[in-house]
Protein backbone atom coordinates (compact mmCIF):
# COMPACT_ATOMS: atom_id res chain seq x y z
CA UNK A 1 0.00 0.00 0.00
CA UNK A 2 1.13 3.47 -0.82
CA UNK A 3 1.62 6.29 1.59
CA UNK A 4 -0.96 6.31 4.38
CA UNK A 5 -3.37 9.12 3.67
CA UNK A 6 -2.85 9.19 -0.06
CA UNK A 7 -6.37 7.80 -0.55
CA UNK A 8 -7.83 10.65 1.46
CA UNK A 9 -5.77 13.20 -0.47
CA UNK A 10 -6.88 11.80 -3.81
CA UNK A 11 -10.49 12.05 -2.67
CA UNK A 12 -9.96 15.63 -1.58
CA UNK A 13 -8.52 16.33 -5.01
CA UNK A 14 -11.82 15.20 -6.54
CA UNK A 15 -13.87 17.46 -4.29
CA UNK A 16 -11.56 20.41 -4.91
CA UNK A 17 -11.81 19.98 -8.65
CA UNK A 18 -15.59 19.66 -8.47
CA UNK A 19 -15.72 22.83 -6.41
CA UNK A 20 -13.53 24.86 -8.75
CA UNK A 21 -15.32 23.79 -11.89
CA UNK A 22 -18.62 25.25 -10.70
CA UNK A 23 -17.16 28.69 -11.53
CA UNK A 24 -16.61 29.79 -15.11
CA UNK A 25 -13.04 30.89 -14.32
CA UNK A 26 -12.47 27.56 -12.65
CA UNK A 27 -13.49 25.69 -15.74
CA UNK A 28 -11.14 27.82 -17.81
CA UNK A 29 -8.33 27.24 -15.33
CA UNK A 30 -8.80 23.50 -15.35
CA UNK A 31 -8.88 23.64 -19.14
CA UNK A 32 -5.51 25.40 -19.18
CA UNK A 33 -4.11 22.84 -16.73
CA UNK A 34 -5.52 20.06 -18.94
CA UNK A 35 -7.56 18.55 -16.15
CA UNK A 36 -10.69 16.80 -17.30
CA UNK A 37 -13.76 18.59 -16.05
CA UNK A 38 -17.21 17.36 -15.27
CA UNK A 39 -20.42 19.25 -15.92
CA UNK A 40 -19.84 22.08 -13.47
CA UNK A 41 -22.88 23.64 -11.94
CA UNK A 42 -25.94 21.40 -12.23
CA UNK A 43 -28.48 23.19 -10.09
CA UNK A 44 -30.77 25.97 -11.29
CA UNK A 45 -32.24 28.89 -9.42
CA UNK A 46 -35.91 28.09 -9.33
CA UNK A 47 -38.24 30.02 -9.70
CA UNK A 48 -36.12 32.51 -11.66
CA UNK A 49 -34.93 29.77 -13.96
CA UNK A 50 -37.23 26.96 -14.91
CA UNK A 51 -36.38 23.49 -15.95
CA UNK A 52 -37.73 22.25 -19.24
CA UNK A 53 -39.79 19.19 -18.48
CA UNK A 54 -40.46 16.49 -20.96
CA UNK A 55 -43.83 16.58 -22.62
CA UNK A 56 -44.81 13.20 -21.22
CA UNK A 57 -44.62 14.55 -17.70
CA UNK A 58 -47.91 13.76 -16.01
CA UNK A 59 -49.39 15.69 -13.12
CA UNK A 60 -53.10 15.18 -12.50
CA UNK A 61 -55.71 14.68 -15.21
CA UNK A 62 -57.92 17.25 -16.90
CA UNK A 63 -60.98 16.99 -19.13
CA UNK A 64 -60.67 17.95 -22.77
CA UNK A 65 -63.27 20.00 -24.63
CA UNK A 66 -63.39 20.96 -28.29
CA UNK A 67 -64.23 24.56 -29.03
CA UNK A 68 -66.60 25.51 -26.21
CA UNK A 69 -66.56 24.14 -22.65
CA UNK A 70 -69.99 22.57 -23.06
CA UNK A 71 -68.65 20.44 -25.92
CA UNK A 72 -66.67 18.20 -23.64
CA UNK A 73 -65.65 14.78 -24.86
CA UNK A 74 -66.58 12.98 -21.69
CA UNK A 75 -69.83 11.02 -22.02
CA UNK A 76 -69.98 10.10 -18.36
CA UNK A 77 -69.45 6.40 -18.92
CA UNK A 78 -67.75 6.13 -15.54
CA UNK A 79 -65.10 3.67 -16.65
CA UNK A 80 -62.34 5.89 -15.28
CA UNK A 81 -64.18 6.24 -11.98
CA UNK A 82 -64.25 2.49 -11.68
CA UNK A 83 -60.68 1.85 -12.76
CA UNK A 84 -58.96 4.62 -10.81
CA UNK A 85 -56.86 2.63 -8.32
CA UNK A 86 -57.23 4.98 -5.32
CA UNK A 87 -60.84 5.81 -6.28
CA UNK A 88 -60.43 9.55 -6.40
CA UNK A 89 -62.77 10.31 -9.31
CA UNK A 90 -66.40 11.01 -8.47
CA UNK A 91 -68.87 11.41 -11.31
CA UNK A 92 -72.50 12.34 -11.12
CA UNK A 93 -74.29 11.58 -14.30
CA UNK A 94 -75.04 11.21 -17.07
CA UNK A 95 -77.32 14.25 -17.02
CA UNK A 96 -81.04 13.53 -17.46
CA UNK A 97 -83.86 15.65 -18.84
CA UNK A 98 -87.29 16.02 -17.16
CA UNK A 99 -88.56 12.70 -18.52
CA UNK A 100 -85.57 10.90 -17.11
CA UNK A 101 -83.99 10.26 -20.48
CA UNK A 102 -80.32 10.97 -20.91
CA UNK A 103 -79.86 14.60 -21.86
CA UNK A 104 -77.54 15.24 -24.76
CA UNK A 105 -75.42 18.18 -25.78
CA UNK A 106 -73.71 18.03 -29.17
CA UNK A 107 -75.10 14.52 -29.55
CA UNK A 108 -73.44 13.20 -26.44
CA UNK A 109 -74.41 12.52 -22.88
CA UNK A 110 -72.41 14.44 -20.31
CA UNK A 111 -71.65 14.32 -16.59
CA UNK A 112 -73.50 16.62 -14.19
CA UNK A 113 -70.54 16.84 -11.88
CA UNK A 114 -67.06 15.46 -12.32
CA UNK A 115 -64.74 15.76 -9.33
CA UNK A 116 -61.18 14.59 -8.93
CA UNK A 117 -59.69 14.73 -5.49
CA UNK A 118 -56.10 15.61 -6.28
CA UNK A 119 -55.10 15.11 -2.67
CA UNK A 120 -55.64 11.41 -3.40
CA UNK A 121 -54.85 11.20 -7.13
CA UNK A 122 -51.42 9.73 -7.69
CA UNK A 123 -51.05 10.77 -11.34
CA UNK A 124 -50.85 7.19 -12.48
CA UNK A 125 -52.49 7.86 -15.89
CA UNK A 126 -54.72 4.79 -15.72
CA UNK A 127 -57.83 6.92 -16.24
CA UNK A 128 -56.31 8.23 -19.49
CA UNK A 129 -55.45 4.72 -20.65
CA UNK A 130 -58.93 3.34 -20.05
CA UNK A 131 -61.03 6.24 -21.33
CA UNK A 132 -62.54 5.04 -24.63
CA UNK A 133 -63.27 8.60 -25.80
CA UNK A 134 -59.92 10.30 -25.18
CA UNK A 135 -61.84 12.65 -22.95
CA UNK A 136 -59.36 12.84 -20.11
CA UNK A 137 -55.66 13.65 -20.42
CA UNK A 138 -52.74 14.36 -18.13
CA UNK A 139 -51.76 17.93 -17.30
CA UNK A 140 -48.26 19.14 -16.54
CA UNK A 141 -48.96 22.07 -14.29
CA UNK A 142 -47.16 21.57 -11.00
CA UNK A 143 -47.45 24.78 -9.00
CA UNK A 144 -50.67 23.82 -7.31
CA UNK A 145 -50.09 24.46 -3.64
CA UNK A 146 -52.97 26.07 -1.79
CA UNK A 147 -53.70 27.01 1.79
CA UNK A 148 -56.97 25.20 1.81
CA UNK A 149 -57.00 21.49 2.12
CA UNK A 150 -60.58 20.49 1.40
CA UNK A 151 -61.95 23.19 -0.85
CA UNK A 152 -59.31 23.68 -3.44
CA UNK A 153 -57.82 20.23 -3.63
CA UNK A 154 -60.99 18.77 -5.05
CA UNK A 155 -61.05 19.83 -8.68
CA UNK A 156 -64.58 20.20 -10.02
CA UNK A 157 -65.73 20.03 -13.61
CA UNK A 158 -65.15 23.71 -14.28
CA UNK A 159 -61.62 23.52 -12.91
CA UNK A 160 -60.85 20.35 -14.85
CA UNK A 161 -62.12 21.46 -18.24
CA UNK A 162 -59.37 22.62 -20.57
CA UNK A 163 -59.40 23.12 -24.30
CA UNK A 164 -57.95 20.80 -26.86
CA UNK A 165 -55.70 23.70 -27.94
CA UNK A 166 -54.17 23.70 -24.48
CA UNK A 167 -53.59 19.97 -24.79
CA UNK A 168 -52.00 20.45 -28.21
CA UNK A 169 -49.78 23.09 -26.74
CA UNK A 170 -48.50 21.14 -23.72
CA UNK A 171 -48.27 17.73 -25.37
CA UNK A 172 -47.96 18.15 -29.14
CA UNK A 173 -47.03 14.55 -29.91
CA UNK A 174 -49.72 12.94 -27.83
CA UNK A 175 -52.38 15.42 -28.95
CA UNK A 176 -51.56 14.77 -32.59
CA UNK A 177 -52.03 11.04 -32.02
CA UNK A 178 -55.33 11.58 -30.26
CA UNK A 179 -56.59 13.97 -32.94
CA UNK A 180 -55.69 11.49 -35.65
CA UNK A 181 -57.47 8.71 -33.80
CA UNK A 182 -60.60 10.78 -33.27
CA UNK A 183 -60.64 11.89 -36.90
CA UNK A 184 -60.39 8.27 -38.03
CA UNK A 185 -63.23 7.35 -35.68
CA UNK A 186 -65.46 10.17 -36.87
CA UNK A 187 -65.18 9.45 -40.59
CA UNK A 188 -66.46 5.91 -41.26
CA UNK A 189 -69.54 6.11 -39.02
CA UNK A 190 -71.64 9.25 -39.28
CA UNK A 191 -73.69 8.06 -36.27
CA UNK A 192 -73.65 10.60 -33.45
CA UNK A 193 -72.18 8.53 -30.64
CA UNK A 194 -69.11 6.41 -31.08
CA UNK A 195 -69.82 2.75 -30.26
CA UNK A 196 -68.54 1.80 -26.84
CA UNK A 197 -65.64 -0.60 -27.11
CA UNK A 198 -65.56 -3.79 -25.13
CA UNK A 199 -64.61 -2.52 -21.72
CA UNK A 200 -65.97 -2.50 -18.23
CA UNK A 201 -66.77 -5.33 -15.85
CA UNK A 202 -69.46 -6.87 -18.02
CA UNK A 203 -67.21 -7.35 -21.03
CA UNK A 204 -66.24 -10.82 -22.12
CA UNK A 205 -62.89 -12.19 -20.98
CA UNK A 206 -59.98 -11.43 -23.27
CA UNK A 207 -59.41 -14.08 -25.88
Amino acid sequence: MALIGSGVLQGLGVTLRTFIETYPWGKALLGVLRIRTGQGLVTIEYPDVRQQHHERQRIFPFLVYDGAPDNLRCVSCKICEQECPPQCIHINGPAKDEQGRPAKVHGRTYPVTFDINVAICMSCRICVDVCPFDAIEMDNEFELSTEERFGRLVFNKARLLKSNEYFQQIKPTEAAEVDARLAAKAKPSPKPAAPAPAAGPTAAPAA
Binding site: E83, C124, A199, P205
Partner: protein
Protein backbone atom coordinates in the same frame (compact mmCIF):
# COMPACT_ATOMS: atom_id res chain seq x y z
CA UNK B 1 -23.18 -1.23 48.39
CA UNK B 2 -22.67 -0.39 44.73
CA UNK B 3 -19.46 1.29 43.84
CA UNK B 4 -19.56 4.10 41.31
CA UNK B 5 -17.54 2.04 38.83
CA UNK B 6 -20.35 -0.50 38.43
CA UNK B 7 -22.09 -0.22 35.12
CA UNK B 8 -25.52 -1.16 33.99
CA UNK B 9 -27.08 -1.85 30.64
CA UNK B 10 -28.75 1.03 28.87
CA UNK B 11 -31.62 0.66 26.48
CA UNK B 12 -31.96 3.27 23.78
CA UNK B 13 -34.43 3.69 20.97
CA UNK B 14 -33.10 4.87 17.64
CA UNK B 15 -35.88 6.16 15.46
CA UNK B 16 -38.54 6.01 14.19
CA UNK B 17 -37.91 9.63 13.30
CA UNK B 18 -34.17 9.50 12.99
CA UNK B 19 -32.22 10.64 9.97
CA UNK B 20 -29.97 7.59 9.98
CA UNK B 21 -32.71 5.00 9.84
CA UNK B 22 -33.64 5.68 6.21
CA UNK B 23 -37.27 6.35 6.94
CA UNK B 24 -39.58 5.43 9.76
CA UNK B 25 -37.65 2.52 11.19
CA UNK B 26 -36.81 1.97 14.80
CA UNK B 27 -33.99 0.07 16.46
CA UNK B 28 -34.27 -0.74 20.13
CA UNK B 29 -30.68 -1.27 21.19
CA UNK B 30 -29.40 -2.46 24.56
CA UNK B 31 -25.95 -1.07 25.19
CA UNK B 32 -23.15 -2.08 27.46
CA UNK B 33 -21.07 1.04 27.46
CA UNK B 34 -21.09 1.77 23.78
CA UNK B 35 -21.25 -1.84 22.66
CA UNK B 36 -24.47 -3.31 21.40
CA UNK B 37 -25.56 -6.43 23.27
CA UNK B 38 -29.08 -6.65 21.95
CA UNK B 39 -30.90 -5.01 19.11
CA UNK B 40 -34.50 -5.29 18.13
CA UNK B 41 -35.74 -3.86 14.86
CA UNK B 42 -39.24 -2.40 15.03
CA UNK B 43 -41.09 -1.84 11.80
CA UNK B 44 -44.55 -1.24 10.48
CA UNK B 45 -44.72 2.53 10.73
CA UNK B 46 -45.15 2.88 7.00
CA UNK B 47 -47.63 0.07 6.54
CA UNK B 48 -50.05 1.07 3.79
CA UNK B 49 -51.99 -2.11 3.26
CA UNK B 50 -50.54 -2.61 -0.16
CA UNK B 51 -51.40 -6.28 -0.50
CA UNK B 52 -55.00 -5.84 0.55
CA UNK B 53 -55.41 -2.92 -1.86
CA UNK B 54 -53.99 -5.14 -4.59
CA UNK B 55 -56.71 -7.68 -3.92
CA UNK B 56 -59.37 -5.03 -4.44
CA UNK B 57 -58.22 -3.55 -7.69
CA UNK B 58 -57.65 -4.93 -11.17
CA UNK B 59 -54.29 -6.48 -12.01
CA UNK B 60 -53.26 -3.33 -13.85
CA UNK B 61 -54.45 -1.17 -11.00
CA UNK B 62 -51.70 -2.56 -8.78
CA UNK B 63 -48.92 -1.16 -10.93
CA UNK B 64 -48.97 2.40 -9.62
CA UNK B 65 -48.87 1.00 -6.10
CA UNK B 66 -45.81 -1.12 -6.82
CA UNK B 67 -43.99 2.13 -7.69
CA UNK B 68 -44.42 3.07 -4.08
CA UNK B 69 -42.92 -0.09 -2.64
CA UNK B 70 -39.28 0.61 -3.14
CA UNK B 71 -39.58 4.13 -4.43
CA UNK B 72 -36.01 4.17 -5.67
CA UNK B 73 -36.61 1.24 -7.99
CA UNK B 74 -40.08 1.72 -9.43
CA UNK B 75 -39.11 0.09 -12.72
CA UNK B 76 -37.89 -3.13 -11.09
CA UNK B 77 -41.06 -3.41 -9.06
CA UNK B 78 -43.14 -2.90 -12.19
CA UNK B 79 -41.20 -5.65 -13.93
CA UNK B 80 -41.70 -8.05 -11.03
CA UNK B 81 -45.46 -7.68 -11.12
CA UNK B 82 -45.57 -7.72 -14.92
CA UNK B 83 -43.69 -11.02 -15.04
CA UNK B 84 -46.03 -12.56 -12.48
CA UNK B 85 -49.11 -11.46 -14.43
CA UNK B 86 -47.61 -12.71 -17.68
CA UNK B 87 -46.99 -16.08 -16.11
CA UNK B 88 -50.53 -16.19 -14.74
CA UNK B 89 -52.26 -15.12 -17.93
CA UNK B 90 -49.80 -16.53 -20.46
CA UNK B 91 -49.22 -13.18 -22.11
CA UNK B 92 -46.58 -13.00 -24.85
CA UNK B 93 -44.08 -10.13 -24.68
CA UNK B 94 -43.10 -7.91 -27.57
CA UNK B 95 -39.44 -8.18 -28.49
CA UNK B 96 -38.71 -4.47 -28.28
CA UNK B 97 -40.59 -4.37 -25.01
CA UNK B 98 -38.27 -7.00 -23.57
CA UNK B 99 -35.23 -4.91 -24.40
CA UNK B 100 -36.77 -1.71 -23.11
CA UNK B 101 -37.58 -3.43 -19.85
CA UNK B 102 -34.04 -4.69 -19.42
CA UNK B 103 -32.70 -1.22 -20.16
CA UNK B 104 -35.04 0.31 -17.60
CA UNK B 105 -34.35 -2.15 -14.80
CA UNK B 106 -30.61 -2.08 -15.29
CA UNK B 107 -30.68 1.72 -15.23
CA UNK B 108 -32.64 1.32 -12.01
CA UNK B 109 -29.94 -0.91 -10.59
CA UNK B 110 -27.28 1.64 -11.41
CA UNK B 111 -29.40 4.40 -9.95
CA UNK B 112 -30.14 2.49 -6.76
CA UNK B 113 -26.56 1.45 -6.10
CA UNK B 114 -25.29 4.96 -6.77
CA UNK B 115 -27.78 6.44 -4.35
CA UNK B 116 -27.27 3.84 -1.63
CA UNK B 117 -23.53 4.33 -1.73
CA UNK B 118 -24.11 8.04 -1.22
CA UNK B 119 -26.40 7.32 1.72
CA UNK B 120 -23.94 4.89 3.24
CA UNK B 121 -21.25 7.57 3.19
CA UNK B 122 -23.71 9.99 4.71
CA UNK B 123 -24.27 7.54 7.55
CA UNK B 124 -20.53 7.29 8.02
CA UNK B 125 -20.34 10.99 8.60
CA UNK B 126 -19.26 12.19 5.18
CA UNK B 127 -22.17 14.60 5.12
CA UNK B 128 -23.40 15.69 1.79
CA UNK B 129 -20.50 15.44 -0.61
CA UNK B 130 -20.67 11.82 -1.81
CA UNK B 131 -24.46 11.84 -1.51
CA UNK B 132 -24.80 14.90 -3.69
CA UNK B 133 -22.37 13.54 -6.25
CA UNK B 134 -24.49 10.41 -6.34
CA UNK B 135 -27.71 12.37 -6.65
CA UNK B 136 -26.28 14.49 -9.43
CA UNK B 137 -25.81 11.31 -11.50
CA UNK B 138 -29.07 9.79 -10.34
CA UNK B 139 -30.89 12.84 -11.60
CA UNK B 140 -29.66 12.17 -15.13
CA UNK B 141 -31.18 8.70 -15.08
CA UNK B 142 -34.37 10.09 -13.59
CA UNK B 143 -34.55 12.56 -16.48
CA UNK B 144 -34.48 9.61 -18.85
CA UNK B 145 -37.24 7.95 -16.86
CA UNK B 146 -39.32 11.08 -16.99
CA UNK B 147 -38.91 11.35 -20.74
CA UNK B 148 -40.01 7.76 -21.22
CA UNK B 149 -42.68 7.30 -18.60
CA UNK B 150 -43.78 10.78 -17.58
CA UNK B 151 -42.63 10.60 -14.00
CA UNK B 152 -39.23 10.62 -12.38
CA UNK B 153 -39.81 8.16 -9.60
CA UNK B 154 -43.34 6.81 -9.84
CA UNK B 155 -42.76 5.49 -13.34
CA UNK B 156 -45.67 3.08 -13.73
CA UNK B 157 -44.18 2.20 -17.09
CA UNK B 158 -43.70 -1.55 -17.51
CA UNK B 159 -46.83 -3.48 -18.36
CA UNK B 160 -47.64 -7.14 -19.00
CA UNK B 161 -46.65 -7.77 -22.61
CA UNK B 162 -44.04 -5.03 -22.79
CA UNK B 163 -44.06 -1.40 -21.76
CA UNK B 164 -46.93 1.08 -21.69
CA UNK B 165 -45.67 3.19 -24.55
CA UNK B 166 -42.55 3.18 -26.68
CA UNK B 167 -39.76 5.53 -25.68
CA UNK B 168 -39.81 8.93 -27.41
CA UNK B 169 -37.60 9.72 -30.35
CA UNK B 170 -33.97 10.27 -29.51
CA UNK B 171 -34.31 8.59 -26.13
CA UNK B 172 -32.06 5.68 -27.03
CA UNK B 173 -29.31 8.06 -28.13
CA UNK B 174 -29.54 9.88 -24.82
CA UNK B 175 -29.42 6.58 -22.96
CA UNK B 176 -26.37 5.48 -24.96
CA UNK B 177 -24.62 8.73 -24.15
CA UNK B 178 -25.40 8.32 -20.47
CA UNK B 179 -24.19 4.74 -20.39
CA UNK B 180 -21.00 5.72 -22.22
CA UNK B 181 -20.28 8.51 -19.74
CA UNK B 182 -21.16 6.65 -16.58
CA UNK B 183 -17.92 4.68 -16.07
CA UNK B 184 -16.13 8.03 -15.88
CA UNK B 185 -18.29 9.01 -12.94
CA UNK B 186 -17.75 5.63 -11.30
CA UNK B 187 -13.99 6.04 -11.64
CA UNK B 188 -14.20 9.43 -10.01
CA UNK B 189 -16.49 8.12 -7.30
CA UNK B 190 -14.06 5.33 -6.58
CA UNK B 191 -11.13 7.72 -6.49
CA UNK B 192 -13.10 9.60 -3.88
CA UNK B 193 -14.01 6.59 -1.80
CA UNK B 194 -12.51 3.17 -2.45
CA UNK B 195 -8.98 3.84 -1.30
CA UNK B 196 -9.89 6.37 1.36
CA UNK B 197 -8.20 5.18 4.55
CA UNK B 198 -10.88 6.56 6.84
CA UNK B 199 -13.59 4.70 4.97
CA UNK B 200 -11.55 1.51 5.07
CA UNK B 201 -11.03 1.84 8.81
CA UNK B 202 -14.71 2.41 9.34
CA UNK B 203 -16.03 -0.38 7.15
CA UNK B 204 -13.56 -3.23 6.94
CA UNK B 205 -14.22 -6.07 9.38
CA UNK B 206 -17.39 -4.33 10.53
CA UNK B 207 -20.78 -6.01 10.49
CA UNK B 208 -19.58 -9.32 9.15
CA UNK B 209 -22.37 -11.59 7.99
CA UNK B 210 -21.32 -15.25 8.06
CA UNK B 211 -21.98 -17.17 4.87
CA UNK B 212 -24.01 -19.92 6.53
CA UNK B 213 -26.24 -17.48 8.36
CA UNK B 214 -26.83 -15.50 5.19
CA UNK B 215 -27.98 -18.60 3.35
CA UNK B 216 -30.10 -19.87 6.24
CA UNK B 217 -31.83 -16.54 6.69
CA UNK B 218 -32.56 -16.43 2.93
CA UNK B 219 -30.70 -13.21 2.47
CA UNK B 220 -30.48 -12.14 -1.16
CA UNK B 221 -29.00 -9.43 -3.29
CA UNK B 222 -25.69 -7.62 -2.80
CA UNK B 223 -25.83 -8.44 0.91
CA UNK B 224 -25.59 -12.16 0.12
CA UNK B 225 -23.10 -11.80 -2.70
CA UNK B 226 -20.79 -9.77 -0.50
CA UNK B 227 -20.39 -12.88 1.66
CA UNK B 228 -19.17 -14.78 -1.39
CA UNK B 229 -22.26 -16.81 -2.25
CA UNK B 230 -22.78 -16.84 -5.98
CA UNK B 231 -26.53 -16.39 -6.23
CA UNK B 232 -28.12 -14.00 -8.63
CA UNK B 233 -31.69 -14.64 -9.77
CA UNK B 234 -30.82 -13.21 -13.18
CA UNK B 235 -28.37 -16.08 -13.64
CA UNK B 236 -30.25 -18.75 -11.69
CA UNK B 237 -33.67 -18.27 -13.32
CA UNK B 238 -32.57 -16.57 -16.51
CA UNK B 239 -35.89 -14.72 -16.62
CA UNK B 240 -36.83 -12.29 -19.38
CA UNK B 241 -33.97 -12.08 -21.88
CA UNK B 242 -31.04 -12.01 -19.46
CA UNK B 243 -29.44 -15.19 -20.88
CA UNK B 244 -28.73 -13.24 -24.08
CA UNK B 245 -26.31 -10.89 -22.37
CA UNK B 246 -22.86 -11.59 -21.09
CA UNK B 247 -22.07 -10.22 -17.66
CA UNK B 248 -20.45 -11.40 -14.46
CA UNK B 249 -21.78 -11.61 -10.94
CA UNK B 250 -19.36 -9.79 -8.63
CA UNK B 251 -18.72 -11.50 -5.32
CA UNK B 252 -17.21 -10.36 -2.06
CA UNK B 253 -15.15 -12.47 0.30
CA UNK B 254 -15.42 -11.21 3.87
CA UNK B 255 -19.02 -10.09 4.00
CA UNK B 256 -18.34 -6.84 5.83
CA UNK B 257 -19.66 -3.39 5.10
CA UNK B 258 -16.77 -2.64 2.77
CA UNK B 259 -17.48 -5.71 0.67
CA UNK B 260 -21.09 -4.68 0.33
CA UNK B 261 -20.03 -1.26 -0.84
CA UNK B 262 -17.56 -2.66 -3.31
CA UNK B 263 -19.87 -5.36 -4.65
CA UNK B 264 -22.36 -2.62 -5.49
CA UNK B 265 -19.73 -0.61 -7.34
CA UNK B 266 -18.76 -3.68 -9.35
CA UNK B 267 -22.39 -4.55 -10.00
CA UNK B 268 -22.93 -1.12 -11.48
CA UNK B 269 -20.09 -1.74 -13.90
CA UNK B 270 -21.63 -5.06 -14.94
CA UNK B 271 -25.04 -3.42 -15.34
CA UNK B 272 -23.46 -0.89 -17.66
CA UNK B 273 -22.17 -3.79 -19.75
CA UNK B 274 -25.68 -5.22 -20.00
CA UNK B 275 -26.98 -1.78 -20.90
CA UNK B 276 -24.43 -1.39 -23.67
CA UNK B 277 -25.41 -4.73 -25.16
CA UNK B 278 -29.13 -4.08 -24.84
CA UNK B 279 -28.87 -0.60 -26.34
CA UNK B 280 -26.86 -2.02 -29.22
CA UNK B 281 -29.19 -4.94 -29.98
CA UNK B 282 -32.59 -3.39 -29.39
CA UNK B 283 -34.85 -4.20 -32.36
CA UNK B 284 -37.52 -2.00 -33.90
CA UNK B 285 -41.16 -2.98 -33.70
CA UNK B 286 -44.03 -2.63 -31.29
CA UNK B 287 -43.15 -2.11 -27.64
CA UNK B 288 -46.10 -4.06 -26.33
CA UNK B 289 -47.84 -7.19 -27.53
CA UNK B 290 -51.51 -6.92 -28.67
CA UNK B 291 -52.72 -8.86 -25.64
CA UNK B 292 -50.84 -6.56 -23.32
CA UNK B 293 -52.19 -3.53 -25.15
CA UNK B 294 -55.75 -4.78 -24.76
CA UNK B 295 -55.15 -5.24 -21.07
CA UNK B 296 -53.95 -1.67 -20.64
CA UNK B 297 -57.01 -0.31 -22.46
CA UNK B 298 -59.52 -2.42 -20.56
CA UNK B 299 -58.02 -3.88 -17.38
CA UNK B 300 -61.14 -5.76 -16.34
CA UNK B 301 -61.26 -7.85 -19.48
CA UNK B 302 -58.24 -9.69 -18.18
CA UNK B 303 -59.49 -12.72 -16.29
CA UNK B 304 -56.64 -15.15 -15.81
CA UNK B 305 -57.47 -18.83 -15.33
CA UNK B 306 -57.72 -20.15 -11.80
CA UNK B 307 -54.35 -20.89 -10.32
CA UNK B 308 -51.40 -19.36 -8.55
CA UNK B 309 -47.95 -18.18 -9.55
CA UNK B 310 -44.81 -17.05 -7.84
CA UNK B 311 -42.47 -15.06 -9.96
CA UNK B 312 -39.26 -13.41 -8.86
CA UNK B 313 -36.68 -11.02 -10.18
CA UNK B 314 -33.31 -9.80 -9.04
CA UNK B 315 -34.24 -6.32 -7.88
CA UNK B 316 -31.35 -4.04 -6.89
CA UNK B 317 -31.98 -4.93 -3.25
CA UNK B 318 -32.39 -8.66 -3.68
CA UNK B 319 -34.96 -11.20 -4.70
CA UNK B 320 -38.27 -9.48 -5.25
CA UNK B 321 -41.09 -11.97 -5.57
CA UNK B 322 -44.74 -11.58 -6.43
CA UNK B 323 -47.23 -14.24 -5.48
CA UNK B 324 -50.62 -14.09 -7.15
CA UNK B 325 -53.63 -16.33 -6.75
CA UNK B 326 -56.36 -16.04 -9.32
CA UNK B 327 -59.93 -17.16 -8.83
CA UNK B 328 -60.91 -16.36 -12.38
CA UNK B 329 -62.15 -12.83 -11.65
CA UNK B 330 -60.50 -9.60 -12.81
CA UNK B 331 -59.01 -9.13 -9.35
CA UNK B 332 -56.41 -11.32 -7.69
CA UNK B 333 -57.70 -13.48 -4.87
CA UNK B 334 -54.40 -13.21 -3.05
CA UNK B 335 -51.56 -10.85 -3.75
CA UNK B 336 -48.36 -11.14 -1.80
CA UNK B 337 -44.95 -9.57 -2.16
CA UNK B 338 -41.68 -11.00 -1.01
CA UNK B 339 -39.81 -7.81 -0.21
CA UNK B 340 -36.02 -8.16 -0.20
CA UNK B 341 -35.47 -5.24 2.19
CA UNK B 342 -37.74 -6.85 4.74
CA UNK B 343 -36.06 -10.25 4.67
CA UNK B 344 -32.57 -8.77 4.62
CA UNK B 345 -33.41 -6.79 7.71
CA UNK B 346 -33.89 -9.95 9.76
CA UNK B 347 -30.15 -10.44 10.23
CA UNK B 348 -29.59 -6.90 11.46
CA UNK B 349 -29.15 -7.96 15.06
CA UNK B 350 -26.68 -10.73 14.21
CA UNK B 351 -24.55 -8.28 12.29
CA UNK B 352 -24.63 -5.58 14.94
CA UNK B 353 -23.86 -7.55 18.10
CA UNK B 354 -20.54 -6.61 19.59
CA UNK B 355 -20.13 -3.45 17.56
CA UNK B 356 -20.55 0.17 18.56
CA UNK B 357 -23.64 2.31 18.01
CA UNK B 358 -21.96 4.20 15.19
CA UNK B 359 -21.27 0.87 13.48
CA UNK B 360 -24.90 -0.18 13.76
CA UNK B 361 -25.83 2.91 11.77
CA UNK B 362 -23.55 2.04 8.87
CA UNK B 363 -24.48 -1.64 9.04
CA UNK B 364 -28.10 -0.63 8.60
CA UNK B 365 -27.05 1.67 5.79
CA UNK B 366 -25.16 -1.13 4.08
CA UNK B 367 -28.19 -3.44 4.05
CA UNK B 368 -29.92 -0.93 1.80
CA UNK B 369 -33.49 -0.85 2.99
CA UNK B 370 -36.37 1.27 1.82
CA UNK B 371 -39.16 1.41 4.32
CA UNK B 372 -41.85 1.59 1.68
CA UNK B 373 -40.87 -1.94 0.76
CA UNK B 374 -40.23 -3.23 4.28
CA UNK B 375 -43.63 -2.25 5.58
CA UNK B 376 -45.55 -2.28 2.31
Amino acid sequence: MQSTSDTQLLEISLGPQHPSTHGVFRMNAVLDGETIVKLKPVMGYLHRNHEQIGEHTSYIGSFPFTDRLDYFCAMSNNLGLALAIEKLGNIPVAERGEYLRIIMVELTRVLNHTAVTGFLLNDMGAFGTPLLYAFREREKILDLFEAASGSRMMCNYIRPGGVRIDVPEGWLQQARALVAGYPQFLDEFERLLTKNEIIRQRTQQVGILPKALAVNASITGPLLRATGVNYDVRKVDGYSIYPRFSYKVPLGSVGDVYDRYYVRILEMRESLKILQQALRDIPAGPAVSPKGQAMVKAPRTFRPPKGEVYSRIEAPKGELGFFLTSDGTPQPYRYHIRAPSFINLTVLEDMCLGYKVADAIIILGSIDIVLGEVDR
